[in-house]
Amino acid sequence: MQMRNVLFAIDRDFSSNSAIHVHALANELCAQGLHCVVAVPQNKETVAQLGERRYEPMNFGEVGQLRKLFPNGAGPDVVHSWTPREIVRKFCDGLQKRFQFKLFIHLEDNEEYLLEKIYLHNNVSAVPELVRVPESLSHPVRYRDFLRRATGVTVIIEKLKEFASASTPSLTLWPGVDTEFFAPREASAELRGKVLLPPGHTVIVYTGNVHQANAKEVRSLYLAVALLNREGQPTCLVRTGTDYCDFLDGQSDWVKPFVRELGQVPREQIPDILALADLFVQPGRADRFNEYRFPSKLPEFLAMGKPVILPNANIAHALEHARHAWVVERADGVHITEAVQHLRAAPELAARVGAGGLEFAHTRLSWPKQAALLRDFYLAA
């Protein structure tokens, strides 16, 4: 079967982190000669915020127009469901009634953990088959059937292969980073002034929203900032993103003086904000959530050429401690504090780790290489 048309289906609109990955891959696949369409449940116009694209966006509801979106007027040869969650699974089931294609499924989270954490703890049923879940999550039984039906499974991190059948071909597909957009640069003095960063302070930048799944991790980072200041290391945290939950239990006086919260900022401003940092922190620890994910901000952090502190989980297994990053057993408040104190006291070490991270980003986190891997995987499956 000749493979020309690829349809990606994602579970949220183009403002999601997954969409950034799909956007980059679809653009690269188009550049490599394929035709791509990216389908989202709704709000396809949000694609505009991602910049130049070579693929066509569509809403799930426009499936009747799908053939028109491919230049050859045919249907998709490959459908890549970018998650097994209900909303996408149902969409793919609908597509299978209209077209013949190879189904690929991408995993980027421990779906079972999320289901348990977000939903099942207060919706217990003794029988998994009878559980009704919202469309934004995977169904405990149906998602496994869905995976079994796939021609191939791609995973963002090796450990997620545990959820795929051993007989289904699988591919580990790390995200990449645009190293021209996210590149080391001098911190802007003007921006430092705008953000009110006092001189002599260590600056940590964290870009990302706070939601239930990472609330405790971000709280660890805030705690570390408070501890650093209390223990004589003046430190400021620059935050972007939205808080979708109150992760400080309504009491933030103890840390607010050390945090600059900028809210949502346009993506094109992110590199300049990242450039304010002396170092980056990916808080968290090896657990059922973290071991199965690839924190979406990490490639961007690494590409900025500053040292990154991160827990010994997921991608950290591929990074060499003290060469590519500063890997701590668990990046909780205490360990982050001690790591920052250590790196700030050893500027040469910090510079070496930052350079190592940059090298890793350039060599291992390349979108064109990942897209080529994916294209070959489609062809071979």
Binding site: C30, P41, Q42, E45, V47, A48, G51, E52, R53, R54, N59, F60, G61, E62, V63, G64, Q65, K68, P71, G73, S125, A126, V127, L130, R132, P134, E135, K216, R219, S220, Y222, L223, A226, L227, R230, E231, L248, D249, Q251, D253, W254, V255, D332, G333, V334, T337
Partner: protein, 917 residues
């Protein structure tokens, strides 16, 4: 229409699908003509003035690409909008570029400019096709046409959009009318109108024929292109409708989901109502039976005799009078004096009076509320049905042998016990009954009928009653199961009892022993007195027979430990559990009420003191257990409720204890603390290390000279963790005892008691009972949960209170103890890295204890080491939030799991063992 005039079949492009259809449809119906125009004109240069979303321009480009022409195309627009189209931002151009650049960028250019500024880029006579679709007022269109006219070539064609639009200030139609007399032209009336004007001398032949067509031919051409064009707007509208339909479908799905949820809630409520109705019926039936029973009693001769006797008693000593109460108490004292003697009665009297008052209070308070609580917390009928389905799918479905010895059991109660077994939601069980030669033929018949009905029930009728252990061992001999569970003949199982155990076994195959929470059945069969137990607590178990029911263990473990021992009849299951616990630590507590223990007159369930020799058997069993483990202590009776205490044996070589006290000034506290240590302590080998934080008070300085203490200066800002860590560096003892300077030793053997527990290899820390100055409890261990973090359990309890199930009378496992008095082995302390100096004010002791627990060590609270803690009962106003978050952050999993020694059925916001709502 002749073939010569218009031949669409020679221009198949007309029938192509456009690659771009935006949401702005105003031009889309002219796309087929755009394809045709490019096909017949093949312009070398095309310019569009006013591109907006680019549907028209991209159609021109698409045709150029499809026909493989070699023109240069330009779109001119500010892409900021105008008053007619509305103003917009850069996203429109960005989106257009995303479509355009990759496809047409090699021959086409998007010029972001005003029309006037752009026209300087074009040489006169260079443009073959000009499409004017900018601002549509008369003046603007006229200006655009006149400005750009010189740029048009000899074969120049100009398109005007909106020639049929007459609303508001649209003026194209007006200017179009003026131009018609000056140039050959053709006008489409659909899609807001499109005018085609030939301004050059050399009109392309195909267009020439169009301009010269008759009125009817022109009508046909218009109809043809209108039909072709409407396909796209119709398709777009269809897509929009589909999207709308999809949205509506989504809404519908959501509503369906909500409806389903509501329906499920409704089902639950219905089940609950049904339960209540059934309970009501059962209660009604019980009432009816009771009435019958009462009538038969009242009518009996015995009753009449008793009535006479009571009547006489009422006359001599009426109830609720001094004489009446005295008579009642005297009768009870007479019974007790038989067991403990007259002195024992005198000693117990105050406690008994207090307990009687408390019991009455508990009954008054809990009564009906327990039934309500059960209704909220127990599985519904629907959930039980689902359990059956789920149990059938368990990967591991072991056979569980329920072992039940019977002897003259009241038939109704035995029947209830059998019914509770058969009602299990987990099916793979067998009931092994050994009857010790009961004299009741009804009982024998009942057992035979049930064994006949259900082949999973196995029977053995013994020739004689061998006692509880002997009968149980015979029942065990019938068992084939991999697991054994013990069921008394008059008790009942919860329907989900076995399911809960097997479910856990499917998650953790290392479990060897299970026990659960339990409650009691009163004489009317109503459930009461729940007992919520801690997770496996070996130290507590040595003092309190708390494990009880529903005890279930691997048969292989039983075989290794040996069966029941007849010499412990009465505490045979407790004694067996002691032996099992010597062989495994994989003992799992299930915090659910899986067993209902019947209170019968004369049973321990009814009266803890009903069986006089129980305590002695219990003590003997524990002493044998201590001997087997090599623990240097003897068990002694601590209270008549079968509570024991461990009395450490004197050691020939007492290991050195270093008492580390951080201090600053406070001479009164220091004097009381040091004085009590040196005057009261019976332990022979200890030192005191005072970590002095800049004391200047002369009295305090003199005290440091007076007592034989080691003084370690700790200048600067006080940090509790740092001070203690420093003290350890100067301490030489094998055991470290961290002590606050506002404490005062009460019990002389406090260090012996603490060393006894600390010396056990798997004990990581030992805490003492600390009392406020008014002798109420200040510290009896720390639990996780209250106030969002951790707090002292039973704070404020009176010292004459035994605590929940003896927890204030007996040593037991806790999650943490306060560093106001905390003993540890030096090696453990150093392995844990000492107190964390990241804490500034609170929780460093909880953190240290949790580190010990994470290392697999137990923390023990012993009420046998007692000190006064002269701390204010009022909590200090200052609260360190960083310390709070630090504790929560460091021990996330522990807080999520909850305190293992404070049952999850207790209110986590309280510290007094009250049931959660």
């Amino acid at each position: 229409m002749s073939e010569e005039l218009f031949t669409p079949q020679t221009h198949p492009l007309i029938f192509s699908e456009p690659a771009r259809l935006s949401n702005v449809r105003s031009w889309q119906e002219h796309i087929p003509f755009a394809f045709y125009l490019i096909s017949v004109c093949q312009p070398r240069v095309l310019v569009e003035l006013g591109t907006h979303y680019g549907d028209s321009y991209c159609a021109f480009c698409q045709a150029c690409t499809a026909l493989q022409l070699t023109g240069r195309y330009y779109a001119v627009d500010t892409w900021q909008g105008d008053p007619q189209a509305g103003l917009y931002g850069g996203e429109v151009l960005a989106e257009l570029r995303a479509h355009h650049d990759v496809r047409y960028g090699h021959f086409s250019e998007l010029i972001q400019s005003t029309f006037d500024d752009a026209q300087t880029r074009f040489a006169d006579g260079s443009i073959d096709v000009l499409h004017i679709d900018g601002l549509h007022t008369y003046e603007a269109v006229k200006h655009d046409f006149e400005t750009w006219l010189p740029k048009l070539s000899d074969c120049g064609i100009v398109l005007f959009h909106d020639t049929a639009e007459r609303r508001d200030d649209f003026g194209v139609y007006h200017y179009w009318a003026e131009l018609q007399g000056r140039y050959p032209h053709f006008e489409f009336l659909h899609g807001h109108g499109l005018g085609v004007l030939a301004v050059g001398k050399m009109v392309p032949p195909a267009l020439q024929r169009l301009f010269q067509a008759s009125a009817s031919e022109q009508e046909s051409i218009r109809a043809f292109f209108a039909r072709q064009g409407i396909r796209f707007t119709a398709a777009a509208e269809l897509a929009e409708r589909e999207a709308q339909l999809s949205r509506l479908n989504n809404d519908y799905q959501q509503l369906t989901g909500q409806t389903q949820q509501l329906y499920e809630e409704y089902q639950k409520l219905t089940d609950y109502c049904q339960q209540l109705t059934e309970q009501q019926h059962e209660l009604g039936e019980q009432l009816r039976q009771s009435n019958q029973h009462l009538t038969s009693i009242v009518e009996s001769h015995g009753w009449k005799f008793l009535q006479g006797a009571w009547s006489l008693r009422r006359k001599i000593a009426p109830p609720a009078t001094m004489r009446g109460n005295l008579l009642r108490a005297t009768l009870k004292a007479a019974v007790i004096s038989k067991q403990v003697g007259f002195k024992g009665v005198l000693k117990r009297a105050p406690l008994a009076l207090d307990r009687a008052w408390r019991a009455r209070k508990v009954i008054n308070e809990s009564g009906d509320s327990y039934a309500v609580w059960l209704a909220k917390h127990e599985p519904t009928k629907r959930e039980l049905r689902e359990q059956k389905i789920r149990a059938a799918g368990f990967r591991y479905q072991p056979l569980i042998s329920l072992v039940m010895p019977t002897y003259n059991t009241p038939v109704a109660m035995l029947k209830a016990a059998l019914e509770s077994v058969v009602a299990q939601t987990y099916d793979n069980w067998e009931l092994c009954v050994a009857d010790g030669a009961s004299t009741s033929p009804e009982l024998r018949e009942l057992l035979q009928v049930w064994a006949h009905k259900d082949e999973r029930i196995k029977l053995k009728f013994l020739a004689e009653n061998q006692g509880i252990s002997g009968n149980s061992n015979d029942a065990l001999a019938l068992a084939r199961g991999e697991w054994i569970a013990l069921l008394d003949h008059d008790d009942e199982l919860a329907p989900h009892a076995l399911f809960e155990y097997v479910k856990l076994l499917n998650e953790d195959s290392t479990i060897d022993v299970f026990y659960s929470d339990e409650d009691k059945l009163d004489e009317q069969g109503a459930r009461c007195e729940p007992f919520f137990k801690p997770d496996w607590s070996p130290e507590y178990f040595r003092s309190v027979m708390y494990v009880g029911h529903l005890l279930c263990f691997r048969r292989s473990l039983l075989e290794a430990a040996g069966g029941f021992e007849a010499r412990y009849d009465g505490v045979q299951d407790f004694e067996l559990m002691l032996r099992l616990s010597e062989r495994t630590a994989h003992i799992k507590h299930v915090p659910k009420l899986l067993y209902h223990w019947r209170k019968l007159p004369g049973s321990i369930a009814q009266d803890g003191q009903a069986k006089a020799n129980i305590s002695e058997l219990q003590r003997a069993a524990v002493n044998a257990h201590l001997a087997r483990l090599g623990l240097p202590a003897q068990a002694e009776l601590a209270s008549p409720h079968h509570r024991l205490r461990m009395v450490p044996e004197l050691q020939a070589q007492a290991a050195k204890v270093s008492i580390i006290i951080p201090t600053k000034d406070a001479p009164d506290f220091l004097e009381r603390c040091l004085g009590s240590i040196y005057e009261h302590s019976s332990y022979p080998n200890f030192e005191v290390v005072l970590v002095d934080n800049d004391t200047t008070d002369p009295r305090a300085l003199a005290l440091m000279e007076k007592f034989p203490v080691k003084r370690v200066p700790s200048p600067g800002k006080f940090n509790f963790s740092r001070a203690n860590n420093l003290g350890v560096q100067h301490a030489s003892g094998e055991y470290l005892l961290f002590l606050n300077n506002d404490t005062e030793v009460i019990t002389p053997d406090w260090l012996e008691q603490m060393v006894y527990y600390s010396a056990q290899p798997d004990v990581g820390g030992v805490g003492a009972l600390l009392l406020f100055s008014d002798r109420t409890v200040q510290h009896a261990g720390i639990i996780l949960g209250p106030r969002g973090t951790a707090d002292h359990v039973m704070r404020g309890f009176s010292l004459d209170n035994e605590g929940y199930a003896g927890s204030l009378l007996c040593a037991h496992e806790v999650t943490g103890v306060t560093a106001a008095c905390l003993m540890m082995k030096r090696g453990d302390f150093e392995l844990a890295g000492g107190f964390s100096e990241h804490y500034q004010t609170h929780y460093q002791d909880v953190d240290l204890c949790l580190k010990m627990r994470a290392a697999g060590k137990r923390i023990i609270f012993t009420p046998r080491a007692q000190l006064l803690h002269h701390e204010s009962k009022t909590r200090k106003a200052y609260y360190d939030w960083v310390d709070r978050i630090l504790l929560l952050d460091s021990w996330q999993d522990e807080f999520e799991r909850g305190d293992p020694y404070y049952n999850q059925n207790f209110d986590p916001a309280k510290t007094d063992y009250s049931r959660c709502a």
